[in-house]
Structure formats: structure tokens, C-alpha cells
């Protein structure tokens, strides 16, 4: 029993006070603990959010205000007071879009559009690329580089692209600006897609907000199904297989060719599970609230060529790059050479979008080269008949190329990437494969299951989803509980931030 004399001591903190203090700490901004959809805190808050959202759903204005507040808090929890910058960006965009809409002179409209784009890109450039450019500048002039103390606001790359697409769409008269600033802030700060996408397009999203339709039962339970799948992909599979992959990428010289190859294969699947898992959670959450965000990944490793890969991988980004970079650059309308060049430049920008480092630029450039080569070979490829062998060869080349490029994406520097690839080609002894399987049985089994699941037809996944939607409530609860327990069983001591978090 607790000593009662403690109560009179000024140092004494009662359990309730202590609990309150802990909860307060939990709710405050902590840069080391961003709020992820797979975290317990998010789900506790979402349980409070959901009934209020449901009550306000028919009162559109109040619903918008409530969701905006929740989204801003969500952003505050991940990025602190940068949520004010998000508000400021939305204000500038909204005012500029209205000016563009009202202006009749094309040149003036164009100026206003560029004004908004330059502001958005300047903010992104400062936070994301300033140190990178300064470092390169100092390398050229051989100066003493002191990195600026800049914190990258979470998800800035995502909402900047949303903001640009909104202003461009208003300029191109694809959409009218929202009458209400809050509606635009709702779009820009919509919490399911705020920190890691998908990149939501205004022409797709704003009409849904306008209609404000109630989520059907299929939406709600289908959304929960996507969340469950996303949690398994992200918090169970990706975080688990990452443990081995990190070893290989951290000290590649310690590993044989077989081990390095497994690390590369592992990372290929890890980045897919990590990012598509988080996308699934985001799409599921939005669906649960009655908003459709579209799909972001469509079994990308089934692709038979690089063009197909980019139609299946991070669809919201690749379609954004197509519509707002590739086509404005001239697309395929200016001859063969310009088509290749435009492709290359688009992918280069795509690479730079992923991070401020040469490795990302190289990764993007190599994808650009690959796309150009595929386009150049198309006339020949189209004459080759489709059969199992040709399909397999096409798939193999694509998969190997994509996987090898992931090495440059993941490794800390170029030399490490080369070392890993060298290991695979120089020090590969197939006799070690059974030994590897024996030593890392759980990891191998998980990878095999994952690869099999990835290649199953989409219809199977659809059937499972519809089965879940029709399932008895108790069974749904059991499945959800099992998923959560699976996460707890696999949970790392420190939450592994998902790979696309800082993009």
C-alpha cells in the first residue's frame, strides 16, 4: 500500500496526475514520434474522431471545419508548428486561384500561375534542397560547408504537388476554384493523404467534397479491409524483412553474394510493402470517411516492361509527373528525340522529388534511360509474339533492372551500391542458398509468401475484400484483433518511419 505521508510531500505526483502528464506528452509534438496510421495513438484519436465526424457529416460546413482541425492537429503531431505553413500555403493558393479565375488576360493569368508555382517550389526548395545545393556549390568552390539547420516538414513534397496541380488546373480551367477557403484547406490538409500521399488531384477530390455523400457499408468495411491489408504490409512485413536488409546495406562488405542478393530482393519487396501498405491505409481511411482516392499501386512487380512498371508504381506520382511535367515539356508531340528527352527529364525530376541527393537523381535518371530505351525498342518489341517465354524474359529484365536501381536508392552512397552489386556478381555461390534458407528460415518464408501473394490475380484480392465486407461483425472484430496482435508481436522497439515519410 502506498505510504499516505507521500501525499504531503511537494515532490509527490499522484498516479492520476502522472497519467495526465503522460497523456499530455503523448499528444504534444514529438519529432521522434510522428503519428503513423499504425500507431495506437492514432487509433485512439480516430475512435474519438469517428462519431463526431458521423454526426457532422450532413452539416457540410461543420464537417469540413472539424476534419480540417483534426488534419491540422495530425500534421502538428508530425511536424510541429509547420502546420501554420500549410495554412499559409493554402491561403496563398486560394487567393491566387481566385485571381487567376477572374482575370481575362491570358498573360496575366499565366503570371499569377507561375507566381503561385514559384512560391510553392521555393518553399519546397528551401526546406528540402537548400543544403543539397549549398553542399554541391561548396564542393565546386572548395569552401567550408556548414549545413543549415533546416527541419524538413513531413509530407511537404506531397502537398506541394497537390497545391501546384490545383493552381495549374484552375489556370487551365479544368476546375473552378473552391468558393470557400476551408474547402481548399480540407483538400490540401486531408489527413489520410497528408504526410505520404497518395497525391490527390483536385479535379477528382473536390467534386466528392461538394457532393458530400455518405459512405456506404461497402465503403466503410472495404476501407477497413484496406487498412488491415496496409497494416500487415507496413507494420508486419516491411518492418520485419527490413531487419535483415538493413544489415546488408549497412555493412555490405561483410556479406557474400547470396546474402547481398537476398538483401536486394528483400529491399525490393520492403519498399513496396512499406509504401503501398501506407497508401492502402490512407486510401482505406479516406474510403471509410466516404472519399475515394483511387489506387496507388497495382502489383507493380508484375510489370513486363518499365513503362508498365511506372503505370503500376506510385500511380498518383507518375500520373502527376505525366500531366504536370512530361506533357507541358512537349510529351511525345515534338519528335522522337524530344520524347526521349522529355521522358528522361521527367524521371530526373521524379528522382529529385524522392530526395535531395545524387543517388536519387541517378536513380531517376536511370529510370529515364530505361523508359527511353523501352520506347525506342517498342517497334521491334511489338513484332515479338506474346508467349510464356517472351513474357518471362520481359518480366525478368524489368524486375532485375528495377531491383538493381533500388540498390542505389537505398544504399548510403554510390560506392556502397557498387559494392553490393559487385558482391552479387563476383561472390555468388548457389551452394550457399540452402545455408541461407536454413539460417534465415522465417525471413525466407515471409519473402516467399509475399512474392506469391504479389503475383496472385487482383480478382482474388477483390473476392477476399467482398467476403470481408459481407462477413459477420464478430468475425471482422476477430480479424482486426488478430491483425493488431500480429503488429504487437512484430513491433520494433522504435517505430520504423515508413520509407516515403520524408519525401
Amino acid at each position: 500500500m502506498e505510504d499516505i505521508s507521500n501525499l504531503f510531500d511537494p515532490k509527490y505526483i499522484s498516479p492520476i496526475q502522472e497519467a495526465a502528464k503522460n497523456i499530455w506528452h503523448l499528444l504534444a509534438y514529438d519529432p521522434s514520434a510522428p503519428m503513423l496510421f499504425s500507431s495506437g495513438l492514432f487509433w485512439m484519436l480516430f475512435i474519438i474522431f469517428l462519431p463526431i465526424y458521423a454526426m457532422l457529416k450532413n452539416r457540410r460546413g461543420q464537417m469540413v471545419l472539424f476534419v480540417v482541425c483534426f488534419s491540422l492537429y495530425f500534421y502538428y503531431k508530425s511536424s510541429g508548428f509547420f502546420f501554420l505553413m500549410l495554412i499559409a500555403t493554402s491561403m496563398v493558393d486560394w487567393f491566387v486561384s481566385h485571381i487567376i479565375y477572374r482575370l481575362k488576360v491570358r498573360r496575366a493569368r499565366l503570371c499569377m500561375m507561375w507566381f503561385s508555382i514559384i512560391i510553392s517550389l521555393s518553399i519546397l526548395g528551401y526546406f528540402k534542397y537548400a543544403n543539397f545545393f549549398l553542399w554541391n556549390w561548396n564542393q565546386m568552390v572548395e569552401g567550408n560547408f556548414q549545413p543549415l539547420d533546416i527541419i524538413l516538414p513531413v509530407g511537404i513534397s506531397f502537398y506541394t504537388f497537390q497545391s501546384i496541380s490545383y493552381v495549374v488546373d484552375v489556370y487551365k480551367e479544368r476546375i473552378a476554384p473552391t468558393e470557400n477557403w476551408l474547402d481548399y484547406l480540407f483538400f490540401l490538409s486531408f489527413f489520410p493523404a497528408l504526410v505520404a500521399g497518395p497525391i490527390v488531384r483536385a479535379d477528382y477530390f473536390l467534386p466528392q467534397l461538394e457532393r458530400n455523400e455518405r459512405a456506404s457499408n461497402a465503403d466503410i468495411w472495404g476501407g477497413l479491409w484496406l487498412i488491415i491489408i496496409g497494416i500487415i504490409k507496413k507494420a508486419v512485413i516491411a518492418d520485419y524483412i527490413a531487419q535483415y536488409n538493413d544489415l546488408v546495406f549497412d555493412e555490405p562488405s561483410l556479406y557474400t553474394g547470396v546474402q547481398a542478393l537476398m538483401g536486394v530482393l528483400g529491399y525490393t519487396m520492403q519498399i513496396y510493402c512499406d509504401f503501398s501498405g501506407y497508401s492502402d491505409m490512407a486510401i482505406g481511411l479516406a474510403l471509410l470517411m466516404g472519399f475515394h482516392l483511387g489506387i496507388n499501386f497495382d502489383s507493380p512487380y508484375q510489370s513486363r516492361n518499365l513503362t508498365e512498371f511506372w503505370r503500376r508504381w506510385h500511380i498518383s506520382l507518375s500520373s502527376w509527373l505525366r500531366d504536370y511535367v512530361y506533357i507541358p515539356l512537349g510529351g511525345n508531340r515534338r519528335g522522337v528525340f524530344r520524347t526521349y528527352l522529355n521522358n528522361f527529364l521527367t524521371m530526373l525530376i521524379g528522382g529529385l522529388w524522392h530526395g535531395a541527393a545524387w543517388k536519387f537523381i541517378f536513380w531517376g535518371a536511370m529510370h529515364g534511360v530505361g523508359l527511353a530505351i523501352h520506347k525506342a525498342c517498342r517497334p521491334v518489341l511489338s513484332r515479338i509474339p506474346d508467349n510464356f517465354l517472351t513474357i518471362f524474359i520481359g518480366w525478368s529484365i524489368t524486375f532485375v533492372y528495377v531491383s538493381l536501381l533500388w540498390v542505389f536508392f537505398r544504399a548510403s552512397d554510390f560506392a556502397t551500391s557498387v559494392l553490393i552489386i559487385e558482391n552479387i556478381f563476383r561472390d555468388f555461390n548457389p551452394a550457399q542458398i540452402p545455408q541461407f534458407f536454413e539460417a534465415r528460415t522465417e525471413w525466407c518464408v515471409m519473402m516467399i509468401i509475399l512474392i506469391i501473394c504479389h503475383f496472385l490475380p487482383q480478382q482474388w484480392a477483390d473476392v477476399l475484400q467482398s467476403l470481408f465486407i459481407r462477413m459477420n461483425w464478430v468475425l471482422k472484430l476477430i480479424i482486426f484483433l488478430l491483425t493488431v496482435q500480429l503488429v504487437v508481436e512484430f513491433m520494433s522497439e522504435e517505430v520504423a518511419p515508413f520509407i516515403y515519410f520524408q519525401f
Partner: protein, 265 residues
Amino acid sequence: MKSNYTGIWLLLTCALAIMIFVSFSDDISVGGWTVKKAPFAETIYPCKFTDTELNGYRTVTQDSIKDSLKEFKVVETDSMPKSIFMFGDSMTYNLARRLAKYAKQNGHELHAVNWDSSNTKIWAESDTLAYFLNKYNPDYIFISLGSNEVYFKDPTKRMPYVKKILSLIGDIPYVWIGPPNWNEETKINDMLEATCAPGSFFRSQGMKFVRQQDHIHPTRASSEQWMDSIMRWLPKSAHPILAVTPSDSIKKVQNKVVFLKALNR
């Protein structure tokens, strides 16, 4: 609430309630498998996890440390530079940061492996320790394990794993750093002390720590003080080595710490 949201809300609420209930209840075992608990209790319920620093109440005694020291006579310090290997759970990294400075000051070489959430069972049953011993070929070892076993009701069940780790280490001199308890004694320290060779166990229990927000891990500064205490104790250990306090001129030392993520066994 609209009726079509009632089902999902109830489902999420029930799931949360069950997870919280499990988190606060005693261990649940199914067959040989113990259900891992979601960390609600550690986060919310303070009493179970209050540490000495926070409530300022528990009387801190160093008697156990003094008692353990009485048993051993001071042996001569080995003045040769050592190849030190430190391994253990998530406490290791911050300890290794400070130990790296000692190594630099005293001419030792340090390699460290920080395996998050690891425990004696994981280290004993995996080939990881043998691998790193073979890789670094150390002649002095620091072990920081036991923090993830503080709550085991019967720590003697972990003794075979501790023995296995010590057998893997063989004749290499070592110091086992006891867990920085943030809870009442669960006998893990007694078990470790009894299993380790005399003068090779540093009992951290009873020391005051400033903790991180998880109320478990000492802060970086507190970990440095912790390492300082260990190094001050070292001359009285079974295998003293050079442990002169790092001079202020040693500002930053490149750490050779390998990170292994939680294996969740």
C-alpha cells in the same frame, strides 16, 4: 452517430478496449507462447513504471554495490590496449557513445552491437554473438542485457541463456552491466550476479537515472554518467583495464555501432 458508422466504431472501440485490458493484465500464455502486450500500460499507467527519478521517493542505496565490491580484492590493472566489444539491448548505444571516448583516451578499440529489444534468450539462441566475436576478435567485453527481462516473474528461467552467452564468450574478460531498473526488484539482478563470474557484474540497480519519455531508457547524458560509474568501478572489477576519464579535448568520436532491429521472438 449515423447508423452505418456504428458497426465500425463499436469494432474499433472493442478492439482498443481488449488491447488495453490485455496490456494491464498478467501474462497470457497459449501453449509455450506468451502473448505480447501492446504498450498501453507503460504509456499511460504511471505507478507500474515509476522510476526513482520521477517520484523522488524510493530510497536509493548503494549498499548492494558496496557489498559486492567487498568480496573482491583489487587486482592489478592490465595496461595493454584492448579490443573492446560491447553488445546488448537498446541501452547499448548510449553507453557505447561514452565508452568510445574512454576507448580513444586509453588507446582501446571499440566495436558495439546494439540489438533493439533483445534479451538473453535471443543472444543465446542466435548465431549473432558467435559471428561478431569471430569478426571483432575482442579481448574485453561489455554486456548490457537484462532490461527486457526486468518483468520476468521468475528470472531463474533465463539463467540457462545467460550461461550460454558466457560460455560463448569463454575466457575473454567481461563486465555484465545490470539493467537500469525503473521498477521494483524482480530478482533479475540477483540472478545475473549469481551467474556471472565474481567481479564481472556491475549492479546498476539503485542508481538514479534521468529517463527518456518512455520512462525506461536513460537519457543520453544520464547514460554517459552511467558509463562513467561503470568505468570508475572498473579498477575494482575482476579484470581492470585502463579506464582514464576522457579529457575534454575528445569532443566527438566516430562510433562503430552496428544496429540490429528487434527480432520479436
